[in-house]
Symmetry: C2
Subunit: 335 residues, 2 copies
C-alpha cells in the first residue's frame, strides 16, 4: 500500500557513500568533491529523489520558508503584492506558504498558528483590521517561537516592523488635486473603514489637511465593497445632485461605483469619484478614476528584504518603511 519514498539512505546505498555525503551534496554542494557530487546527483535523479522537508526542518530548525498572510487574495492590491513577494522570496532561496484570511479573525489566527507549526522562518502579515483596538492574541505565540514578523500595509498598535503606505501624504496629494477641481462650496463624501482604523483615519486626516475649508462628510464602513456600496446607495437615494465621492481603498471605490451605476447615473459625469489605490478593472470598463497609486513591486521588495534581514538576526536601524504614493490622473480628462 504505502510506497516507500526514496530517502538519502537509498541514494547512499546505490552510490556506496554515506547519507551525510548525500545530504551535503544537496545542502552544501561546494563541500563535496565535484566528481562525487555528479555521481550523487545522477543517482538522485534516477531514483527520482525528493527531499523530505519534515525531516530537514525537524533537525535543522531552519525551514527556509516565509509565510504570507493577507485578508483577501482576490483584491488585486494584495494579489499583486503577494505575487511580487513570492517571486522575490524564491530569488532569495525561500519558499512561500501563503494564507488568505478572508477578512476573518478566526482564519487569520489559524493561519498564523499553521505557520508556527510549520516552523516558518518569518511571516509577512497584512491583518484583517487596522483598528487601534485590534490586538491579535497570536503575537505572544509568535514571540515565544521567535518568529519575526513584518506587517504590510495594515498598521496596528504596538512595536512592529512594517512596510506601510504614507497614508496621510497619499490622501493629502489627491486631496490637493480634488481641491483644484472642485469649488469650496462643493460637498465631498468620503467613505472609509471603521472609525478607529489607523489606516483609514490617517487617510482622512490627509484629506482634511488638503481640503480644510471644504464641506467634508466622512462615512464609516470597512475596506470591503458591500458596506460602502450600501452607504453610497443611501446617500445617492437622498440626493444625487452634484456629488463627489472618495473611496478610501479600491474595494470601497468599487462599492461607490456600483451604487452610482445602479442609480442610473454616470460615474465621472453625474457623480465624480476619486480613490486611494487603483480600481480593479476600471480600465476594462472604461471608467477613469483619479487615484493614488502605490508601487506594489517596491512594497513587496521592502517587505521581503526586511523579513529576511530579521531572519538573519540583523538589527534594523529603521523598522518602518513608508512608501509614498503617486498621483494617477486620467489622460483623457473625463473629470
Amino acid at each position: 500500500m504505502t510506497k516507500k519514498r526514496i530517502t538519502l539512505a537509498d541514494i547512499a546505498k546505490k552510490t556506496n557513500l554515506s547519507s551525510i555525503t548525500i545530504s551535503r551534496a544537496f545542502s552544501y554542494p561546494d563541500k563535496v568533491n565535484p566528481e562525487t557530487l555528479e555521481i550523487v546527483l545522477k543517482a538522485a535523479a534516477e531514483l527520482n529523489y525528493i527531499p523530505n522537508r519534515a525531516a530537514r526542518s525537524l533537525k535543522s530548525h531552519q525551514s527556509k520558508i516565509i509565510g504570507i498572510v493577507n485578508p483577501n487574495m482576490s483584491n488585486p492590491f494584495f494579489g499583486q503584492i503577494t505575487r511580487e513577494m513570492v517571486m522575490k522570496c524564491q530569488e532569495q532561496g525561500y519558499d512561500v506558504l501563503m494564507f488568505d484570511s478572508y477578512e476573518l479573525a478566526e482564519f487569520e489566527t489559524k493561519a498564523i498558528q499553521n505557520l508556527i507549526e510549520f516552523s516558518v522562518d518569518g511571516i509577512i502579515l497584512s491583518t484583517i483590521s487596522s483598528d487601534v483596538d485590534y490586538q491579535p492574541t497570536y503575537f505572544d505565540s509568535l514571540k515565544n517561537s521567535d518568529i519575526p514578523v513584518v506587517l504590510l500595509d495594515r498598521e496596528i498598535e504596538g512595536d512592529h516592523a512594517g512596510v506601510y503606505i504614507d497614508n496621510l501624504d497619499s490622501a493629502y496629494q489627491i486631496g490637493q488635486y480634488i481641491a483644484k477641481r472642485h469649488a469650496k462650496t462643493q460637498r465631498i463624501d468620503i467613505i472609509g473603514a471603521s472609525a478607529i482604523s489607523m489606516v483609514s483615519n490617517n487617510r482622512i486626516a490627509g484629506f482634511r489637511a488638503a481640503l480644510y475649508d471644504y464641506d467634508i462628510a466622512v462615512h464609516h464602513a470597512d475596506f470591503e465593497m458591500q458596506l460602502a456600496y450600501e452607504k453610497a446607495k443611501s446617500l445617492l437615494d437622498e440626493d444625487s445632485y452634484n456629488r463627489v465621492f472618495v473611496g478610501l481603498n479600491n474595494q470601497i471605490t468599487l462599492g461607490i461605483i456600483k451604487a452610482i451605476i445602479e442609480n442610473g447615473l454616470k460615474p465621472q459625469i453625474d457623480v465624480v469619484v476619486y480613490s486611494i489605490d487603483d480600481v480593479p478593472y476600471s480600465d476594462v470598463f472604461g471608467i477613469n478614476i483619479p487615484c493614488m497609486t502605490h508601487n506594489l513591486s517596491e512594497m513587496a521588495f521592502q517587505a521581503v528584504n526586511m523579513i529576511i534581514r530579521l531572519i538573519n538576526g540583523e538589527q534594523l536601524n529603521d523598522s518602518k518603511v513608508i512608501i509614498r504614493g503617486i498621483l494617477n490622473t486620467p489622460k483623457s480628462g473625463l473629470v
Copy 2:
C-alpha cells in the same frame, strides 16, 4: 538566541506524565482519562504549546494537509472555488497549502514539488493548460510518492480523477440562447484558448452544435485577458458593425469588453457579448453579460470529497464528476 520551543516533553515533565500521553491528549483525546486530559490541556495552554508538524508528519506519514494549485488566484473563478475548498477541507480536518502557479509551467512544477516535499496527503490541481500535448513531468513523482491528485476544471490527457465542467453542454446551452436572439445571417466571433485546448475545443464544439447554420469564426488566444483583448481589438478595427462576440472564459470576455469600450462602442448595444463563466465586476460596472454560470460551491465540494476519498484509499466508482452549467441571462433585458 534561539529560544527553545515548547515540546511534548516539556508538558510531560510539568505534568509528571509521559510524552506519549500528552501526544494522545491531542491526537486521540478520547483515549485518555478525562481528568488527565484536562490537566494536560491546562499545562499546554500555560506553556503556550504549539505542536511541531515536522515531527508529526515525519513519524506518522500522514500530514492531514491537502494541497491546492491553480493558475490564477486573482481570477474569481479560481479565487472563489479555492475559498470554498479551503472551508470544506477545514471542516474535514485538513489544512490547506495553496499555490498560485501564475499561469507558469515552472511555478506549477515548483508548487507540486513543494507539496510532495511537505508530504501532503492529496492535491487538487488546476493546470495552467488543457492542451492535449500538455503532459507535466511531475506526474511521475506524484505516482512515486503515492499522492492522489484530483484535477479541477482544466482537463488534460490521461487517466486522472477530476471534477470538470460540462463544457460541451454549457456552450450548447448558451449557443441555443444566442440562436434565439440573432438571425442566422449574423456573424458570430468566438474567442477561445489555444487550438489544442481540450476545454476550449469542447466549448467550441458545443457552440457549433447549437449554431450549426450560423456563420461562426473561431479565434484562438488563451484563457487570459491580454491576447483576447488584442484579438477583439483588431477585429473591431476591421469592422465593428453589428458584431457578436463570445468569450470562452471570464478573462477572455473581459478582454473583449475592454476592446469594445476602447473603440468607443457600447457593450450590448453596439456590440453584443456572451460569456462562459460569470464576468468579474460586470455587475459593478452595470454591464449585463449573458453567460453560463457554474456552481463553484458544488465543484469545490465534489473536488474535496473526491480527494478525501482517494486519500482514504476508497475505490471511486466514477473518477470523473461533471458539473452542468446554468444559463444566466440578465433580467433587465439589455440584450
